[in-house]
Point group: C2
Chain length 257, copies 2
Amino acid sequence: MLIARVATERGPRHGIVDGDRVRLVRDLSDLTTTGERVAFTSSTLLAPVQPGTIYGMAHNTGPSDRKLAPQAFLKPGHGAIGPGDPIPIPHGVGLVVAEAELALVIGRPARHRTLADALAVVLGFTAANDVTARSLQAEDSLWLAGKGFDGFTPLGPVIDTDLPADADISLAIDGATVSRAATVELARGFAEIIVFLSSITTLQPGDVILTGAPGADAELRPGRRVAVSVGGLTLINPVSAAPEPAGLLEHYRKALS
Amino acid sequence: MLIARVATERGPRHGIVDGDRVRLVRDLSDLTTTGERVAFTSSTLLAPVQPGTIYGMAHNTGPSDRKLAPQAFLKPGHGAIGPGDPIPIPHGVGLVVAEAELALVIGRPARHRTLADALAVVLGFTAANDVTARSLQAEDSLWLAGKGFDGFTPLGPVIDTDLPADADISLAIDGATVSRAATVELARGFAEIIVFLSSITTLQPGDVILTGAPGADAELRPGRRVAVSVGGLTLINPVSAAPEPAGLLEHYRKALS
């Protein structure tokens, strides 16, 4: 089942994709259809969830990362954007890259999950671009400056409730594939990630977990178009220059260096 | 003006404290009173805001920290608890401490603020306890394991909309004061903190910023009672043992070490 979030006259609504229509539901926690139907068009498609918290797995990009302890970072939930939304690149932050990842969308509160029951709390998955300002990330050990900019977490286009054991992941810039990988290459799989995070905090319905990028990243520059494909879902975003006031960010970049 | 958030039959509501009553308002973004009044009692008092995102300033505890670049961390918003709520200490995480801080509550979206207009986006302040698992913080460079546990951000008791230029901060355990300080000792003041964070992301109404602990911390153990006093507000929380299943967290602590 595919779940979309669409702009309607009454504000953002979730619904189940049914051909070229979306059958609206009460909300993400109650998928009962209301009888309302709207067209399934790219122009009304929003980020498939407005996350409370976005968790991201650090160094989970290949088998050798299993030697490292599991670690996670947070991104501001309001930094999520939808398919087709421009990714704003701030002025003067240096190298910014796309990371193609499978994102888990949490459906039920999750605390102290075990490997056996971890996946039961997952509503589904979507494609995610864990946009990262690499230079700032290297300068800020807590990663907020590298990961936390507005629009740095494109999600979508929809939530697929059928989470596969393994999903192919590819990354393309301007239509040319630059990386092919699969989630089976991740150091820690979906269930183990949920066990780890839920040993610290209660994952909330609507929270999003970026599971890690098993493939190579790619530089984002204004004017480019980036596509993340995960398990049959393709998330496409243009890249734009952020309308920054000059000077401010440079000031803090210097302070961070 | 003091703003409280109280439990009512219709769910959590914000209101303006008026003697022993709370005059309910529409919401935090529209402080128009509705005519409803409820009693102002400790038993119905909730965390004064349910933050979308909790930002915390790192190493902002004294003048020498100005030599370091500004850095911030995130805590999960749902980890906030209110006055009187027990702080749950997970089993086996080692030293856990209280940090007494002034928390800024954001009232209006804030992006690219300057020193001159930064404070205009602040709705007010409240007292905060930035509870931290020190051992885990030392093992997890991204700080989620050290800062991210459920209940690790007590806030309250109310929001005072009159942000002072300087506020006294004290920390007490079981009624005995263990630390006295003032926000004027912070390496970076309120306005500079907002300039820094809003150079990265849009601060949202209801977001909370932990500005840093200028005083000493104090160990929290189940059975203790911790009080954070900031600018005339006093936030008191009992400390309890978290109902953890044995083994799970230890497993990840070992993995992190």
